[in-house]
Amino acid sequence: MGRLLFHLLVAAMMVFLLAPVLLVIPMSFSADRVLAWPPSGFSFKWYVAMMQERGLAEAARNSVILAVIVTAATLAIALPAALALDRWQFAGRDAVLALLTAPLLLPTIVLALALLIIFVGAGLLGTWPGLMLAHMLVTLPYGVRVLSTALSTLPPSVEEAAASLGAPPAAVFRRITLPLMVPGLVATCAIVFLVSFDEVVISLFLVGPHLVTLPVALFRYVESRTDPMVAAVSTLLVVFSLAIVLVLDRAVGLRRAVGK
């Protein structure tokens, strides 16, 4: 009896947890003009409206391009950093790792404000380079962490074995280290892409009239209106994120990728 109650409680909590993400989907097909439950009819009109909303389409395009650039840049900077931290024993190593991870520990609102003030002075407000740097503030720590974990789970001694067989350091990296890091690299790409794509608070502070990202556009839309169009966008975003995770799992297996 107690077991049954416990299981019911767990089920109830899980429903609570997943409710908003799931309920957005039927709402997106609502035929109503406003957010109302239950929807009076089934309609695709909000999807149509979404495609026609120019601001949203442009913001979506910006978010994708930005996320791709940020992912590439993060990988290019985090990989060497992770290598150096894993291979080089030096006095301040733990401090450097802590410093590189620190941005994740602070509230995004504070980081956003700090960046806003500096960016205004440097003329980076509402610019692509500015936004890219701002996103890297939060994506670099993830990159360094995930890649460090990937490096630490390499099979022991394989690099030494390769060296003993005549491979100079560059060949060891190219033929042994890199191929074995592929799951970690893929995981980093997926995580960094999603973090940048979904990033809202910092972007909110730093966007400009000519450069808006999708989360910010959505935020402003929700602030001013409450109609089911956001549900349509949200449904697509949920499907999109799910697709990325599924591809990741198919390609390298979720557990292997996260290194646990």
Partner: protein, 352 residues
């Protein structure tokens, strides 16, 4: 040694303050010799091997191969084959790819690589395994791939870091013979690191016993076993009885309740007496002058099929006595009174 192939010259490895991991080690290995580095964990044998292979930098000293100083060469230029304790096979390549790797690094033509890989796999009895992945292989098979991979490049020196310790007992014995055969056939100078003294005795031409970063003794298995240079070596290799005693001016030694004489004369003072259990016999009849003797009672008799081991208490001092079993020979009972005898020439005494 004029035909020394590998020379370690006052090799030293320090990690920070504290005692060194390897202290001023000097050793010469003949061409084609199989030398064992034997010792307990932490004695520095693996560190020494890693320095020879270039995987660890020596703090001081030199390493010479065929007269050439390789001390400052990185591992990929040393032309040595290394077999790691956990085999370190490349998981993302198949067996053939693993074995071919060293040859690819040497930019050999494809046809030559294919042919040599095939021959190497045949040598370790893994013909046809080329397409398998390492994770599909058993421990023993992985070990043979690791061996093939190290040998196919025809290195000047072969380094084996406890390659058999992850295998079960039966497989270990089998591989011992196989490695030995291959090594002799190729005539390749080999260093073999192990903590298993039976393995070292069985396989090696000579053994270097190490302890706390230093060499205790270098010699053939026979020399190490029969004439250990220190109590540590005597104790580490094979089973042994160990007694503390005092030698007087006349050369007699009193150890516990026993009076005995040792094989070699020495100064008066404290000594450590050591006697191999299988050199002690349960005496029947008269005991000659070249024998030490003691009276005792059987405390425990252990029968393990081929060997009978008895713990005999002689007035407070316990000696272990071993002998091979024979059909018809009765097993001594607990409490039985016996007389023990062993040759004076089998009695080792080390000054403290």
């Amino acid at each position: 040694m004029t035909d020394a192939h590998l020379v370690l010259d006052h090799l030293e490895k320090r990690f920070g303050a504290g005692p060194p991991a390897v202290a001023s080690l000097s050793l010469e290995v003949r061409r084609g010799e199989l030398l064992g580095l034997l010792g307990p964990s932490g004695c520095g044998k693996t560190t020494t091997l890693r320095m020879i292979g270039g995987l660890a930098d020596a703090t001081a000293g030199h390493i010479r191969v065929g007269g050439r100083d390789v001390t400052s060469l990185p591992p990929h230029l040393r032309d040595m084959g290394i077999v790691f304790q956990n085999y370190a096979l490349f998981p993302h390549m198949n067996v053939a790819g693993n074995v071919a790797f060293g040859l690819e690094m040497r930019k050999r033509p494809k046809a030559e690589i294919a042919q040599k890989v095939e021959r190497a796999l045949a040598m370790v009895h893994l013909e046809g395994f080329g397409h398998r992945k390492p994770r599909e292989l058993s421990g023993g098979q992985q070990q043979r791939v690791a061996l093939a991979r190290a040998l196919v490049i025809e290195p000047a020196i072969l380094l084996l870091d406890e390659p058999l310790s992850n295998l079960d007992a039966k497989l270990r014995e089998e591989m011992r013979g196989e490695i030995r055969d291959i090594q002799k056939r190729l005539g390749i100078t080999t260093i073999f690191v192990t903590h298993d003294q039976v393995e070292a005795l069985a396989m090696c031409d000579r053994i270097a016993v190490m302890r706390a970063g230093e060499l205790e003794q270098v010699g053939t298995p026979f020399e190490i076993y029969e004439n250990p240079a220190t109590p540590f070596v005597a104790d580490f290799v094979g089973r042994i009885n160990r007694l503390e005693g005092v030698r007087d001016a006349a050369g007699d030694i009193v150890a516990g309740s026993l009076r005995l004489r040792a094989a070699r004369a020495g100064a008066a003072g404290k000594v450590t007496v050591m006697i191999r259990p299988h050199r002690i016999h349960i005496a029947e009849g008269a005991i000659g002058p070249e024998w030490n003797d003691a009276a005792g009672t059987i405390r425990r008799a252990t029968y393990v099929g081929d060997v009978l081991s008895c713990a005999v208490e002689c007035d407070g001092t316990v000696l272990t006595v071993e002998r091979h079993t024979h059909p018809g020979q009765p097993i001594p009972r607990e409490g039985e009174a016996v007389r023990l005898a062993w040759r004076i020439s089998d009695t080792m005494a080390f000054e403290a």
